[in-house]
């Protein structure tokens, strides 16, 4: 087997995550999908580092995790406060951008 | 480095505009006098330019030239220079502005008193001076980009003059008046902006092709044959330029903004539009369309001549059909602009000299007629022809000046417009007899609308409202008198003007025809 398959898998997961972001209305689930996309990227990075035979890819993946953690923290906090104010976690309810 | 005379002619009014605008609200009259002073100073400078301008046979085409680098990256230069045509039009502009200012002396007085922060008067006169500065500079610019900037920039003050200071004599409620006014202003702006946009594209295209914006350089390149412009490219660029100028001029069917603008604006502003600003369009046709794209100009001539012909007849017929004095004058102007454009593109010495003279004479005659009409309207408070009648009885001097204005509009021999109109007709007839003959119908229609206007307003039984109408005051007489004198003088002795204009026309035609004689030879060799 060729480790390229890992990349295929990664892109598949990524696409699935993206689709999820688009079709789900629950902010939390949307967030999960984002996490899924991030993980897909990590997988790809790890696979790359294996292909190139150096650890830089893993380092980047590592940083990605950190950033993801930070993002989740802030994001979920936002969701919570949003829910407090509007009693709903639907991303569609926050449609104030409408002209 | 000699004294930058041309720059001065534009800087003085610009400074005047700023100074006028800075006058505090209470000192309204001071602002008026200040504006008048600066406009007169500009007139003096224009006179100096005219004197310094050398009409000798050996004189070079552009004189009093100035040249400084401006936007080096695009080779945009601040290049000025005047030829005879420019001198004539600068003279016209500098001459008319003082009259416009005096005529509009009270037009911008604030209606509601007490509001001390509100300073319409200052703004009004400052804007007029600003327009003057831009127009004069655009007559002097020999750099296409510089010209374009001015061509567009002068729309802004005009917009505010039209939209901000409407004619108080208006049938209908104030809101209605305001709505129509802003409609007219926006229409004016949009029409000219669209034209300008297309011109901008053409300007850039020209830079791509020629690699410079300088008229003189392009002329040299053309002479030395370095400039290789594909025929289609040249035609497209020509159309781009011509469209903008045709909107400004205005040429049928791009004319509909003019009646609204002139109808809604105060009479002095209407004069500013038709007698000064629109001339930039026709002037640019001569200097840029013919100078830059001679081949394309020749190619487009037939269509343009037909359009001009339509303008002449169409404008005159619509003038006959108008109920509103100022709209009538506007449509008459459209007809006259048809004559000017026809003269330009007839491509004969008589035609183009006539067209240039026409620009000047039309400026003066329209100013005379329109300003008197403005005085009339301000007395009765209505623009509808039907509201007048028998004014001649009550205000003979007003009627007399109005009659002379009308006669100038119908180009009566002995008054200036006749000379130019006949030259245009002869010039056109020499090359395109049919068009010339059809255009001659214009003189009948001209007589029709002028006399109908005079008859319906001035003659007939005296109406109650007009019975007590006061005659022209001294201020108004000071505006109209000199204009009429000028009309007569230029009608009897136009030689000074033709002497200035002819060499420039010669140069312009040599752009198109090279050294050969542009005029068709008469059948019988003259003795």
């Amino acid at each position: 087997m060729n480790p390229v398959n890992y990349l295929y898998l990664a892109s598949l997961l990524f696409a699935i995550g993206a689709t999820g972001v688009l079709i789900r209305r629950n902010a939390i689930v949307v967030f999960m999908c984002i996490e899924l996309m991030l993980n897909a990227c990590n997988l790809a990075l790890v696979a790359f580092s294996r292909m190139h035979g150096n650890l830089d890819g893993q380092i980047i993946a590592f940083f990605t995790m950190v950033v993801a953690a930070a993002e989740v923290v802030v994001g979920l906090a936002i969701i919570v406060s949003l829910f407090r104010s509007r009693h709903s976690a639907s991303v569609d309810d926050a449609s104030l951008m409408k002209l | 480095m000699s004294f930058p005379l041309l720059t001065a002619t534009a800087v003085v009014p610009a400074v005047g505009a700023i100074a006028t605008a800075a006058v505090p609200a209470a000192k309204r009259t001071a602002a008026k006098w200040l504006a008048l002073f600066f406009s007169l100073a500009t007139l003096a400078l224009a006179a100096v330019v005219a004197v310094r301008f050398n009409t000798g046979s050996g004189a070079d085409r552009y004189q009093l030239t100035e040249s400084h680098s401006w936007i080096a990256d695009f080779g945009v230069r601040y290049e000025l220079g005047v030829d005879g045509i420019g001198v004539a039009l600068i003279g016209l502009t500098a001459l008319l502005i003082p009259f416009i200012i005096v005529a509009g002396w009270h037009d911008a007085d604030p209606q509601e008193t007490g509001n001390t922060r509100w300073r319409p008067t200052q703004g009004f006169f400052a804007l007029i001076l600003m327009v003057e500065a831009m127009v004069i500079l655009s007559f002097e610019a020999t750099d296409v980009f510089l010209f374009y900037i001015l061509f567009e920039a002068m729309l802004i003050p005009m917009y505010f003059l039209i939209g901000g200071f409407g004619d108080r004599a208006h049938s209908g409620s104030d809101q209605n008046a305001a709505a129509q006014r802003s409609y007219a202003a926006v229409k004016f702006l949009l029409y000219n902006l669209v034209g300008g946009l297309i011109m901008l594209a053409a300007v850039i295209g020209l830079y791509v092709v020629a690699g410079t914006f300088s008229l003189t350089e392009i002329a040299e390149m053309r002479a030395s044959g370095e400039l290789n412009m594909a025929t289609n490219t040249e035609r497209l660029l020509f159309l781009g330029f011509f469209f903008a100028f045709a909107v400004k001029a205005p040429l049928w069917p791009l004319h509909t903004w003019l009646p609204n603008a002139m109808g809604e604006a105060t009479a002095p502003v209407a004069v500013l539009i038709t007698a000064v600003v629109d001339k930039v369009g026709t002037f640019a046709m001569l200097r840029f369309c013919l100078g830059l794209f001679p081949g394309a100009s020749e190619w487009a001539t037939p269509v343009i001549l037909v359009l001009a012909l339509v303008s002449i007849v169409y404008g005159a017929l619509l003038a006959v059909g108008q109920r509103d004095i100022k709209r009538l004058v506007a449509y008459a102007s459209i007809s006259h602009f048809g004559f000017i454009i026809m003269g330009i593109f007839a491509m004969t010495t008589q035609g183009q000299s006539g067209a240039t003279l026409y620009m000047v004479n039309h400026g003066i005659s329209t100013a005379a007629l329109m300003l008197v009409a403005g005085f009339l309207i301000s007395r009765r408070g209505s623009r509808l022809i039907a509201d007048y009648g028998g004014v001649q009885k009550a205000a003979p001097i007003l009627a007399g000046t109005f009659l002379i204005g009308s006669l100038a509009t119908l180009s009566l021999p002995g008054l200036a417009p006749f000379v130019s109109e006949f030259l245009v007709l002869v010039g056109t007839f020499a090359r395109y007899p049919v068009i010339g003959i059809i255009a001659t119908f214009g003189i009948v229609l001209g007589a029709l609308y002028s006399l109908v206007l005079y008859q319906r307003t001035m003659t007939g039984p005296v109406k109650v409202e007009t019975a007590k109408m006061p005659d022209l005051k001294l201020r108004e007489l000071l505006v109209v008198g000199p204009l009429i004198v000028l009309l007569v003088f230029l009608g009897v002795y136009p030689k000074p003007l033709t002497d200035v204009v002819d060499p420039a026309v010669g140069h312009t035609l040599s752009d198109v025809y090279g050294d050969e004689n542009p005029d068709p030879e008469p059948e019988v060799a003259a003795k």
Binding site: L9, A15, I23, M32, N39, M51, L55 | -
Partner: protein, 277 residues
Amino acid sequence: MSALASQAVTDLAAYTTSTGEAVQFWVLGTVAVIGALCTILMKKAVHSALCLAGTMIILAVFYLANGAYFLGIVQVVVYTGAIMMLFLFVVMLVGVTAADSLKETIKGQRWLALLCGLGFAVLLVGGIGNAAITEFNGLGTANAGGNVEGLAALIFTKYVFAFEITGALLITAAVGAMVLTHRERTERAKTQRELAEQRVREGKHLPPLPAPGVYARHNAVDIAGLLPDGTPSELTVMKTLRDRGQIRDVSTEALRDLAALEQRSEERLGRGQEAAK
């Protein structure tokens, strides 16, 4: 564990991987994809979260298989351990809302989304296949001194600034989260008396709300009590359930019972008349 790892290291530098890994990939890969799909298709957020957690664990395994031991562990600890739990907490906090339903509200959104997703996937796969990466050199040399040491060396030399900055980022995030969620009480808490007076002033429902199911011979909290005319009263069910729309309506059967009761009494009365004769 470490033995297995060293085993893996030896056969890493190759042009193809071991059949064991292949099998592992195909089996777990399928599961991962299914998990991902479940994540976006499950109706309840909780289920989505669990599916996601599963997928992540599988990814952790893949990391290990790819010689990224450190990341594999971190994945399990940080993601599955910390982040997903955080998710679950928030899900509990927010509770089930109408947003959960998969019914699409924006016209054409779903089809567009699917189209884009699919197209994107196809493009990526195509792109990768197009890149045609055949040979690869494994991490044998890089991981020679141990994976963690290798990473540490890089982090503290080459990527030290990025590392510090991520640290700063984390702190900021933590502070931010606190700021966002923390609510300072600005005014004194109202006493019960004050609250009661306010209720009276506003003309609200004064006595305590009726217990659920009281009049309806039911004793479940999610069943609305019936008013004397047999219609259910929303008031009797607690607010959270109401918000979630989790009210079981039994009014119909209650009314049926009532009808039956009246019929029976009819019969009795009828008998009574006969007796009178």
